[in-house]
Subunit: 339 residues, 2 copies
Amino acid sequence: MEAPSAFVDRLRPAGGKRSSKRDLIVNVFLRQEGHLSADDLVDVLRREGHKSSRATVYRTLQWMADAGIARKVDFGDGRARFEHSYGQPRHFHLICKSCHRSSEFLSSDVEALLEEIAGVRGFELGQSVVQIHGRCDECRTGHRRRGQGDVPMERLFARDALRIAIQTERSGLDFYSRAARITKDARGRRVFRKLAAEEQEHLGKLEARYAELLAEDPDLESRPTFLFFKGAASGLFAAGAEELDKGADDRQALRIGIRCERGSHRFFKRYGERFEDSEGKRIFLEFADEEREHLELLIREYRSLAARESRAQSKAKAQAQPESKARRPRTASARRANT
Amino acid sequence: MEAPSAFVDRLRPAGGKRSSKRDLIVNVFLRQEGHLSADDLVDVLRREGHKSSRATVYRTLQWMADAGIARKVDFGDGRARFEHSYGQPRHFHLICKSCHRSSEFLSSDVEALLEEIAGVRGFELGQSVVQIHGRCDECRTGHRRRGQGDVPMERLFARDALRIAIQTERSGLDFYSRAARITKDARGRRVFRKLAAEEQEHLGKLEARYAELLAEDPDLESRPTFLFFKGAASGLFAAGAEELDKGADDRQALRIGIRCERGSHRFFKRYGERFEDSEGKRIFLEFADEEREHLELLIREYRSLAARESRAQSKAKAQAQPESKARRPRTASARRANT
DNA sequence: ATAGATGCAAACCCTTTGCACATTA
DNA sequence: TAATGTGCAAAGGGTTTGCATCTAT
């Protein structure tokens, strides 16, 4: 969000010389919110006391689009509009045909479907356009809602990413608490407790960051959802917890945990990578990292438990050589878990 | 698909007088496939030996759009294109930025997500635009694939609707066969057998229609998927069958069946209603109707079974008055099923 | 000094409109 | 006859371009 000029400097070598006029236009453009047409931008410049010819503005907008600073969007009203892409994840649009304003949203679910469709059709996916045309809340009801254009999209993205992460963390915490409760093996119990504690701690951090975000902008919480995210990973842990409740031994509990963490890790990694540079992306990728660590821990523990059991088993066998068969409850259940 | 002129006649009163020129332009337009710009249409007319001024063509295209004969689409290249909407469900586009051709697809899953998003944002949903911009298969690989523009979209729609219906029907058949096998009550077994037979019969009809479609156009099967339909109802019956395998008594089997049919009915009704007039729509709605009938039959049977059981129970109670407790296996399991 | 940026006006492209004329109801 | 469609050319709006002029490297 900060240092847009540095950002632009990085992009500058993309083509051409530095020039005070272009710098000016770029900076003014980056200060604007929403979707500007070329003429809108000319007006803003004029209002700020600078005069530039349309041609230059058009050329600069083209230059920004090429450099990746701006994105051209077409709302079908005959004129091209531009939005800056600095720190803004690619997003889709809701366009009110009545007041002609537009708001943004993002849906990984939609993106995933489009990706899949493109794949099936043998299409190399470029940019996708998703526009919902209709009448906005205000135009329908006549009531003015909390403003929409004021909050930087990145903040909304971070808010929603945090919400999803928190929800997932909560499910994870619940899962590990239950797992710790039902695990008989002392070491395994310790591992689950540790993971529960970590989830707890991370949850605390996420909630603190969430509170911080809200403090920076008290209106933030009441704004409409920006990031739609249906196939959330929280469901995985919830399902895992349900499985635990149906009765699971230590090994199964570990297996379920491994499955959940693996899914969760994939999920956040995948979606984190999909988004553009922003706090939301960072949250998802950090999350993915943490889940990976948990995953590795669980796998180590699973191996250790298996090794200990097999040692215990051969020991029991050796002791019970004269007897017909030693009971091997853990091994039996593990075999069941394998199917 | 047939009688487009009748279709146009119905639309005609929408405004204005009949005129030979307009008729001509409309008819020529309706004969074209794909997405025509105004100038494309002028060219086609000229090639067929008719001369019309651009102005008239523009006015006629506008008129067709107003009348609902044509839809204006904007691929972002500065010119408006038109596609005829007669018998064509609303659809989305894949646009090749290399060869500038475009193909269509339809995804109920995407539509459902957009609907949901619009709802959350308080948007009254109008038309949605979904465009996947990228490079098409041919442009990427250089290989020419089976042609894409030749098959009327409606036929693809019907093909895919049939495929989905057939898949669902198969799952349903499997479910009812299993249910019939495990049901102890003779009447209930008969009901399941009847339903299985009906599914079998309907399946046969659908497969016949599918074969017919393929016979009408042998290339049809090899064309890429047009209708993407993920949350298919077939999953419901498969899950139901799985539940049956885990052990279910007669009552539970009926309950599961009711749940599946209800879901299936809702599903096909909902999606059938979403599409525009076409064979695909008809298939879905017919399907929904059939599922509704099955649903009603199952519910009747469930009530009948419950009544018979309760009669048997009170009779047993009366007979066994002196004894300590009569065994009531069905009632006990029914109680379990309730939770 | 020279490649590149700017400003102006003209050109461009797609589309709509004004107006005289032709057609239809 | 009154209302509507058609053709032509002109105007519109958004955008690009040619060219002379500046300005950074």
